[in-house]
């Protein structure tokens, strides 16, 4: 179990808002801090993976329960 520094709730949001908010939130975090993000847009799953790759941040964990996605992301850069 990792320690969560920041939680971002993107439930109910449609593309591209989850990624825009993710980008904005992580930008304000310290390097090394860990973000927990929730979302319900089926498109988010791939988007978050691509965004992390692109920005050089690490996607530590992805899970889905009852149509709600949960991502754990660590700011690396």
């Amino acid at each position: 179990m990792v320690d969560i520094d920041v939680t971002l709730d993107c439930k109910g949001l449609s593309c591209p808002m989850p990624i825009v908010k993710l980008n904005s939130t992580v930008k304000k975090m310290e390097i090394g801090q860990i973000l927990e993000m929730f979302g319900t847009d089926p498109g988010s799953k791939k988007d978050v993976v691509l965004w992390c790759k692109r920005k050089g941040n690490e996607l530590l964990e992805t899970s889905e329960e009852g149509g709600i996605f949960r991502f754990i992301i660590q700011r690396k850069k």
């Binding site: 439930k11 591209p16 825009v20 980008n23 319900t40 847009d41 009852g66």
Partner: protein, 416 residues
């Protein structure tokens, strides 16, 4: 392999993960060519205008064309049903209510889409995805407008998320999601969709009344909605991502679709199709040739494109993108559609008056068929005129490709 194993394998292929967007694009272009063979290619804004007419016109004691007599209005309804059944089958349906600020953005985005679509006589299909293969000069102008509008709106969204994160935060609600009854409900929904085909009689006399055409559009609409949801086909994404993450897969998918469509559209426009009702001309002046060459050169195209581009990026979907996401249960896009339905008929009546007022002034709403330009240069040689137009489209695709690949590496255009 047991029967159960085979079934779940097929299910996994179709519904396990989203399809690659370029696979969706090829199938969609194929369906668009099928629609063109019936009578005219895939478009969206005209159908929503008809929905709007049916809402607004009765209020001022005017009559609108019935939805069951407008092929694009019917096509759009079927796209929603197709996407709904696909989302259900994949257990991806849920009523997703975003924060209030997002609903307002959906509505405003929809209004801008509606205004832009009417001013520019196009949407992302007629002015881009179908318009490029149709070799319409106005489509290239409208597309430039789309790119400018998208860039402006991306800057806005990022500024909003930084300065006013509260707009996209707050109480949300998601219900009916990921339930086990969904796949069965999806199959039922698909069958209900097929039932709509029986709205249209198909006796010998009815064929002449265009009833068969309505049936064709109804059928392909259902399939198009299904493929859109499965492949999450999104033209906004194709234009937006270079300005956000720099990612290029959606843009490449749209390119593949346009390229695929180009083969079919050029063949139909150059050689014609045996359908005596729809093809009355030859060369570059006939019915098929003028199809999807809209009057948007150049002021109306650029202005409409910019407004449309801003709207679709804020709403999170163009006309078609809003339709399939609405079917998936994304409530923001329901509001986007409401915005279009209100804005389109109103803008349309203003536009009619405006054009009467400016009649005679050139360069506002000209319709120009690209091969006609080359025909003037090449002494009317039909084949070479088409080849010139095709080369123009290919060069446009190549330029777009080079720019996004350069940006993918350099990140020069990416704001994230």
């Amino acid at each position: 392999m047991s029967e159960k194993g085979m079934f779940s394998e097929v299910y996994e292929v179709l519904f396990g993960d989203s399809w690659k967007m370029w696979i969706g694009a090829i199938i969609l272009s194929f369906f668009s060519i099928c629609l063109f063979i019936i009578i005219s290619p895939w478009g969206a804004s005209g159908g929503v205008l008809n929905w709007g007419d049916n809402v607004i016109k009765p209020l001022v004691n005017e009559t609108a064309t019935e939805i069951t007599k407008n092929r694009y209005a019917m096509l759009n309804i079927m796209i929603v049903i197709g996407a709904l059944s696909s989302a259900l089958m994949a257990k991806q349906f849920a009523v997703r209510i975003p924060p209030l600020g997002e609903l307002v953005k959906g509505l405003i985005g929809g209004v801008l889409i509606g205004v832009g679509a009417i001013i520019g006589s196009s949407c992302t299909l007629g002015g881009f995805y179908s318009g490029w293969p149709a070799m319409s000069v106005g489509a290239f102008i409208f597309t430039i407008g789309l790119v400018i509008g998208t860039f402006v709106a991306v800057l806005y969204l990022m500024w909003e998320a930084d300065k006013y994160p509260g707009i996209s935060a707050g109480a949300t609600k998601t219900f009916l999601g990921a339930a086990n009854w969904q796949p069965i409900a999806g199959v039922i929904m698909f069958i209900v969709g097929l039932g709509f085909l029986f709205l249209f009689p198909t006796g010998p006399a009815d064929i002449l009344e265009g009833s068969m055409v309505m049936m064709g559009f109804t059928f392909f609409g259902l399939l198009i909605g299904f493929v859109l949801q499965r492949s999450r086909f999104c033209i906004v994404r194709a234009l937006r991502e270079p300005f956000m993450t720099g990612e290029t897969s959606a843009a490449k998918a749209v390119m593949v679709g346009i390229l695929f469509g180009l083969f079919g559209f050029v063949t139909i426009k150059l050689f014609g199709v045996f359908f005596p009702l729809s093809f009355t001309g030859t060369g570059t002046t006939g019915y098929a040739q003028s199809m999807f060459v809209f009057g948007n050169v150049w002021i109306s195209g650029i202005l409409g494109g910019i407004i449309f581009g801003i709207g679709m990026t804020i709403a999170g979907g163009c006309v078609v993108g809003s339709l399939w996401r609405a079917g998936e249960g994304q409530v923001k896009l329901w509001f986007s559609i409401i915005g279009m339905v209100i804005a389109m008929p109103l803008t349309n009546s203003f536009k009619t008056q405006f054009l009467e007022w400016t009649s005679g002034k050139a360069n506002i709403t000209d319709a120009i068929f690209l091969p006609d330009i080359f025909s003037d240069l090449l002494d009317g040689n039909l084949l070479f005129s088409y080849l010139g137009a095709v080369l123009f489209v290919l060069v446009a695709l190549a330029i777009w490709y080079v720019i996004i690949k350069w940006n993918e590496k350099s990140g020069k255009l990416s704001r994230m």
